[in-house]
Symmetry: C2
Subunit: 224 residues, 2 copies
DNA sequence: ACTGGTTCTAATGTATGCGTAAAATTCAGC
DNA sequence: GCTGAATTTTACGCATACATTAGAACCAGT
């Protein structure tokens, strides 16, 4: 036990490490892996690995198959469309609800900060930082919506498309104008205009869906 | 092994049995239970019970707590509101998508049948049968929407409110007019009117939310 | 009697071994 | 050479034993 950050349990550690392996592509989409192999790779026994895999299965990241090992769930353009459709609806509602809550500037501060971070990242062409700030923005948005189930679902959707998003992040045009939309959304929420907030967020996701699907098709990325 | 329906695996069997125990209230909302107790109760070892509990946790039915056993997740009016808000959005989209798909009468047959079953159940005042047919109706609706993620999410939401629904089923007014709405929805889908279909379904869920929340409050059902 | 620390207990977290069933291989028969 | 049945392999499902640790109980000192 040389490592100090023992995540408090091997199962949690396995979840973290497996997520890393999946998101980074070291466990490729559609590939099969045995519990035993993964356990050895993570330096622990099968039990915590198995529990971690069950949890990841619930989140749609792997598929546990009877005696064929676990398959890293592939992600196709159809999946991308599904995810964006769900996000459009749920984040749209979250935006409306947030607007209806008369939030203070303190409440909105994290979103404002995330926008600033995105702009800073765009200014120096750092797409990873932009993506991280974008994540925080959307996470904060649904949090302010006040519906924990929506937060949970959008988190899962974000994870499911993480690999695809990483690829797209570097082939898409730089997200120059997106922070303008984000600002408008924050303004609408601050002004308490629920309909406008919902409309802006829906538009944001709908446009993004079209853009990303087109990119995937153009680059023949049929599975990620 | 006198039982013929061995569900093919103890873990699956544990999931089924635990769901029954939870939905029937024999494992009461908010109560704590030890893995060992549950294992003994189900006549198997801790391992499959533990795996079943992990899966149920992902579905929000139980909470596995650090060394304090598992808690049967309570369900409050706030949860009910959250669930209905999610259903309003996602089923609304599913209805619109179904309408946009030019479905054949064969495709719509299960929904039509479910409506007939609901009416038959109402005619003989059998609320359980009505609820079962209603489940099928909504399940079919989202299935025809064609978004597997929405199907999965609505299934989970339905399970989460199953206990509450069971209680409400017998204190709510008889669902006399609901099949009229359902028919209108099917007509809109058949006619390919996506906007109307969405509107009808959203209205359906929104009204139901108000009705149920009012009932919960009136009967002082703050946790189920 | 109260507080601080220690010990003890018990429930979970993890490792391990075995039985089982599905897949792969081999071999017999055609 | 091919097909299909028997055998072998092997990966998982599950049981069991052990380690760990949170919380309870207890004890000593004031």
């Amino acid at each position: 036990m040389s490592n100090t950050e023992t995540a408090s349990s091997n199962t949690l550690l396995a979840i973290t490490q497996l997520r890393d392996l999946i998101f980074s592509g070291r466990l490729g989409a559609g590939t099969d892996h045995l519990e035993g192999e993964l356990a050895e790779r993570l330096g622990m026994s099968r039990t915590p690995v198995r529990e971690a895999l069950l949890r990841l299965e619930c989140q749609g990241l792997v598929e546990v198959r009877r005696r064929k090992g676990v398959r890293i769930t592939p992600f196709t353009p159809k999946d991308m469309a599904e995810v964006y459709d769900v996000l459009t609806e749920l984040e749209g509602l979250a935006a409306a609800r947030a607007a209806a809550r008369n939030l203070s500037d303190d409440d909105l501060a994290p979103m404002v900060q995330a926008i600033a971070d995105m702009e800073a990242a765009v200014a120096v062409c750092n797409r990873d930082d932009w993506a991280a700030a974008d994540d925080i923005f959307h996470c904060e948005l649904v949090r302010l919506g006040g519906n924990d189930r929506i937060s949970m679902i959008t988190q899962i959707m974000a994870d499911q498309m993480r690999r695809a998003r990483l690829v797209i992040l570097y082939i898409r045009p730089a997200p120059m104008h997106s922070s303008k939309e984000h600002r408008k959304l924050v303004d609408a929420i601050r002004a308490g205009d629920a309909d406008l907030a919902k409309q802006i967020q829906r538009q944001h996701r709908t446009v993004a869906k079209g853009l990303l699907l087109e990119l995937l098709e153009r680059h023949h990325l049929s599975v990620l």
